[in-house]
């Protein structure tokens, strides 16, 4: 079986059969989306990398609990979301999250670009805007932040977000609406 063309669910079944190459392929597919999600959620690059490593290790350890009826990406983002929530409850993460992150801290500078992303000159043009967006995101309450990131950054459907966060679809819609409203208020200097 060609792992590159296999679906996520097939790779998960191979992983349940202790195929390490399936694990490598899954990490290759999901490391960037997961890294973006964790970084936008937690707000620290170093913590996000540690959390991402723990998420993949947990994925490997809990591979037997995955049921093929569910989407693998939803299951993996559920693990990541749970880990992020528990990480945000830790005092060292909480204190180092928004206060130490500054637009000039240089976090964006050493973020490696993914293939297919806009060219560096466009990134340079938008760097100021992205920094402000990231700064505004980490100021949202965690529930609203998670919903907005999953919906507007990761582009999950309401149903998938409800499954990841463990709440109803109505709650998801409410959180997204409120999060967007708060975010718009925080970014009114840019968009007004």
């Amino acid at each position: 079986m060609n792992l590159r063309s296999a679906s996520d669910e097939d790779l998960a079944r191979l992983l349940q059969a202790d195929r390490k190459d399936a694990l490598v392929e899954l990490m290759r597919r999901f490391k960037d989306p997961l890294m973006s999600y964790i970084f936008r959620y937690i707000g620290s690059m170093n913590v996000a990398q540690d959390v991402l490593q723990e998420v993949f290790i947990r994925m490997y350890q809990k591979r037997d609990t995955y049921k093929s009826c569910a989407r693998f990406s939803t299951w993996l983002f559920t693990i990541a979301g749970n880990y992020c929530r528990s990480e945000l409850r830790r005092p060292w993460t909480r204190f180092s999250r928004p206060l130490t992150w500054k637009p000039d801290a240089g976090d964006e500078e050493y973020l490696p670009l993914v293939d297919g992303e806009p060219m560096p000159d466009r990134v340079a043009d938008n760097a100021f805007k992205y920094r402000y967006i990231q700064k505004a995101l980490v100021q949202l309450p965690p529930n609203y932040r998670e919903a907005v990131i999953l919906c507007d950054v990761q582009e999950f459907s309401y149903e998938e977000i409800a499954e990841i966060t463990g709440v109803s679809e109505g709650t998801v819609k409410s959180r997204i609406f409120r999060g967007r409203t708060m975010l718009r208020d925080l970014l009114k200097d840019i968009y007004d």
Binding site: K20, L23, V24, M27, R28, K31, D32, P33, M35, S36, F39, R40, M45, A48, Q49, L52, Q53, E54, F56, I57, R58, Y60, Q61, S73, F77, R90, L111, P112, L113, V114, D115, G116, E117, P118, V123, N126, K129, Y130, I133, Q134, V148, D152, V153, Q154, E155, F156, S157, Y158, R180, L183, R184, L187, Y191
Partner: protein, 272 residues
Amino acid sequence: MKSPGPSQELDPHTGRDLDPMLRDLKSLPMVSPSADFEQSVLDRLAAEPDAGRRGGKRFVFQEFLFKGSRLGVLSGSLAVVFLLILGIRFLQSPETRHAAPDLHTTPQFVPSPPTSVPQTPVAPEREAQPRQNEGAINGISPQLKRNVPPAQYQFLYRSDNTPGGHGAGSGEADAPNPSSANPTEAEDALKDVKANISDKADQAAPAAERSEKMRETQPSSTDESRQRTAVGGAVEFKNEYTPVQGKDSGLLKTTDSTRAAKRAADTQRVGK
């Protein structure tokens, strides 16, 4: 899930054009971990297959107790000890002890031995020890009565009061045994009582004379003996004043007799 590439310009939920903020959110750049990320995960899994399950950042009670928060446990223990000391000191404070006095440990009044002259012991202050003197007669507490032998106890009575007059006591307190008392001292006490009664009778006599004179000159009225009779519009007062006998003799019961007489005279004048 979002795939790397140009972001959509339409809202996938509403199908309408995205506002600038949502468009920028969707176009946020992907963030990648370090290049050797996969290899580091594989190395860690190979080195410790149980990684993440034990130790790490998971909450372990033993770590919490013995590693993580020694200072917290120590300060908590000190706080508990401090609170215990405070509680014990509060229980031992004088205010708390006075709330429930112990009769066995509270010092009691001990009368001095009787001498040839009858002594009247001073009763302890009722305000200071209210529970101790509860049920006391003539300032002598029941505890004191129990501690004094019958032969000496009768001298604890005041000479101007007859024993048993209040009816509150019982046994030895109400009926001291005369056979066991000293006859000379008993006679002296009886003389005192008689002298007291004669003094009061002497005081009562001039008071009765005074009230008789007042009754002749002015009609007075009391609340108890006032009788009103309407005769032709006039009001006639019939007064029956009796001077008070006994220890309250000399006192007039009608303290407003002058005012009442004045009012009666006015009424009679109006009637005419």
